[in-house]
């Protein structure tokens, strides 16, 4: 056991607190903003004390924003629903395609194998804007513009390489002997894959899935160009708060709080998979 003196503990506590303040203060500030009106947000000097209001959330949930300049329809809840739908479908499809592919790349040597894997990774090198113009033209021809299917497909550019490369590493870490042992005891190739490889790579699959979900959730340009208002996710939907009569800071803050919540909850839930020990103690090192 490590022995820590009281003074050391205090110093450590203060330092950790400083780091936490640095990272969490913006989030905290946004949380405060979401309960304020535009007037209290923009006053100078800013103050921590104000009269809280839930008008921002109410506006988001009801879809009607009433300002002095007039009424504004907000499709925020629909955007949020789109985000959930698009990100979930994209990650599920990526897992379905990426996990078996990752296994193949990890276990088998085949012609052009490394090249294919690298090409898939290279999708992450190019800025999305580079492919957007040709992509939007193709999508028009194929009739995929402004469809959920088209967006989910494009999101594979984000999710698939991520899942493929992270999960591949986890598969490579599993001793092939464990799989050999399972096959020799009389199980088919498929059973070995589903009952040995996948469960043992689960922490990696969870981590990759979560990461892909966050990346898909945060995507902005693809949906901005390839979809219209009723298919767009929150990232694009938030643009609506930049109105002719000014920027609706309060609603933006409330929208951020609402849109961060799902990913935050997912991360908290998946955390236990992320830290779960891999094949500890199974193979003598």
């Amino acid at each position: 056991m490590e022995h820590v003196s009281t003074s050391e503990r205090i110093v450590r506590g203060v330092l950790i607190a400083l780091v936490l303040v640095f990272f969490l203060f913006p989030i905290f500030w946004i949380l405060l903003m979401s309960f304020q009106t535009n007037e209290t947000i923009l006053r100078i000097p800013p103050s921590l004390f104000f009269e809280p209001t839930i008008a921002n959330y109410k506006a988001l949930l009801t879809g009607r924003l009433e300002t002095t300049a007039g009424n504004l329809d907000i499709t925020f809840m629909r955007n949020l629903g789109n985000s959930v739908l698009l990100s979930t479908c994209a990650v599920l499809l990526s897992l379905l395609l990426g996990v078996p592919a990752a296994y193949a790349f990890a276990r088998f040597r085949f012609r052009l194998g490394e090249n294919i894997a690298f090409t898939l990774l290279s999708f992450r090198f190019a800025p999305p804007l580079l492919v957007l113009l040709p992509l939007s033209l193709y999508f028009k021809q194929l009739g995929l513009t402004d469809s959920y299917f088209g967006l989910v497909w494009v999101y594979q550019l984000i999710c698939l390489p991520l899942i493929l490369w992270i999960v591949r590493g986890y598969f490579e870490d599993i001793s092939p002997d464990i799989e050999h042992a399972y096959r020799i005891s009389g199980h088919s190739w498929l059973q070995t894959f589903t009952r040995i490889a996948i469960p043992l790579a689960r922490p990696g699959i969870a981590a990759a899935g979560l990461l892909a979900f966050i990346f898909a959730w945060n995507n902005f340009v693809f949906a901005l160009i390839l979809a219209s208002a009723d298919k767009q996710p929150v990232t694009v939907g938030a643009l609506a708060f930049v109105t002719a009569s000014g920027i609706q800071y309060g609603q933006i803050a409330a929208a951020i709080v609402l849109s961060v919540t799902p990913t935050l909850l997912l991360a908290l839930y998946a955390q236990r998979y992320l830290v779960e020990g891999l094949s500890l103690g199974a193979v003598k090192g």
Binding site: S175, D177, I178, H180, A181, Y182, R183, I184, S185, G186, H187, S188, W189, I196, P199, L200, G277, L278, S279, L280, G281, A282, V283, K284
Partner: protein, 367 residues
């Protein structure tokens, strides 16, 4: 129980041939130990038999049936890996049950089968534990139990005692032979510990450099090793190998060590004048008083090794010789002059250039 036959197995990886035209036959129920220094392809051979790798050339027959292209799950094999390869996310019970579960047995039958082998291997009290909660010895026993549980026709054991401590290894060396015989399987057992090989084997197949150098029962391997390498690998302390050139005299064929010519037997007449190595096991050397017929030597050091005394000696011409005697005998005094007698029947002669043992002619003496 099944007869296993390997015919001309060749396997090479990127960095060269590992197995080169290897053939071997194991009778039903026989325990064959594949012995060799590390990196000679013992593990590769087992994996070829298990179907985890495919041979480049050659065929594998089980009971006369060609198994070369059969998938590993249909070969009816049980295998224990050197690194145990337990399924980390399953309990010891489920690990052992896996060959039975693969055959879709009823739950009660599976339970019976698992408990039977677990009791045999004394791990019935830890069946509910996950592999990471098991001690090394228990892991190794679980791996063995898993290999045995399906009552396979062919049992492949890849150095299963490698990763357990010395005490446990010794225990298992005694426990394993009856266990393996009871299993009724034909057993291929890989090890690089010659004592383990001697304790377990019906026959030992010595694999060196991708070839079987000698396949014979343990006592024959020990008494009549085919090559210098085999002679060196078996025995502790190792065999004494002394440079000699046999000569013919009116008394018979002799070799000169120090200033003493010792008779090595008429059967080695063919070796006269050839550069040879004379091999004699430490326990075949008697330490006595200096005499005309004995090889004069100085005692350098006496080391007691439990039940044996190992004496390092130096002859007049500077050769070092190890002698081993039961510790009940009187130890030679350090720095004293002694005379050495070699038991003539235990003298081996190897051709120095090829390393092959020189066979006696006319069947006289050890052959």
């Amino acid at each position: 129980m099944a007869r296993l036959e390997l015919k001309g197995i060749t396997k090479s990886f990127k960095n060269g041939a590992v197995l080169d035209d290897v053939s071997l036959a194991a009778d039903a129920g026989e325990i064959v130990v594949i012995f060799g220094p590390s990196g000679t392809g013992k593990t590769v051979l087992l994996r070829l038999i298990a179907g985890v790798h495919d041979p480049d050339r050659g065929a594998i027959f089980v009971d006369g049936e060609d198994m070369t292209d059969v998938a590993p799950d249909h070969r009816g094999i049980g295998m224990a890996f050197q690194n145990f390869a337990l399924f980390p996310h399953m309990s010891a019970f489920d690990n052992i049950a896996s060959p039975l579960a693969a055959r879709h047995m009823a739950a009660t039958q599976i339970r019976e089968g698992v408990e039977r082998v677990a009791k045999l291997l004394k791990i019935d009290q830890v069946l509910a534990h996950a592999p990471r909660e098991l001690s090394n010895g228990q892991k190794q026993r679980t791996a063995l139990a898993r290999a045995l549980a399906g009552s396979p026709k062919l049992l492949l054991l890849d150095d299963p005692l490698r990763n357990v401590d010395a005490k446990l290894r010794f225990e298992m060396r005694l426990e394993l032979p009856p266990l393996l015989r009871q299993s009724g399987s034909t057993v291929l057992y890989v090890t690089q510990d010659y004592k383990e090989a001697m304790a377990l084997a019906d026959r030992i197949a010595v694999l060196i450099g991708g070839h079987f150098v000698q396949v014979a029962p343990p006592d024959e391997i020990y008494r009549l090793p085919e090559t210098i390498q085999v002679a060196r690998l078996f025995g502790d302390p190792t065999i004494n190998l002394i440079d000699v050139t046999p000569q013919a005299s009116e008394r018979g064929v002799s070799a000169t060590i120090g200033n003493t010519a010792i008779l090595i037997g008429e059967q080695y007449r063919a070796a006269v004048g050839r550069a040879s190595l004379l091999g004699v096991r430490p326990e075949a050397i008697r330490i006595g008083t200096a005499a005309a017929s004995a090889i004069a030597a100085d005692v350098v050091a006496v080391t007691p090794l439990n039940e044996r005394l190992v004496t390092l000696l130096k002859t007049g011409d500077g050769r070092e010789i190890l002698a081993s005697q039961p510790s009940s005998e009187r130890a030679a005094e350090a720095d004293s002059q002694v005379g050495l007698q070699f038991a003539r029947d235990d003298i081996l002669l190897f051709d120095k250039a090829s390393g092959q043992r020189l066979k006696a002619v006319n069947g006289a003496g050890p052959s």
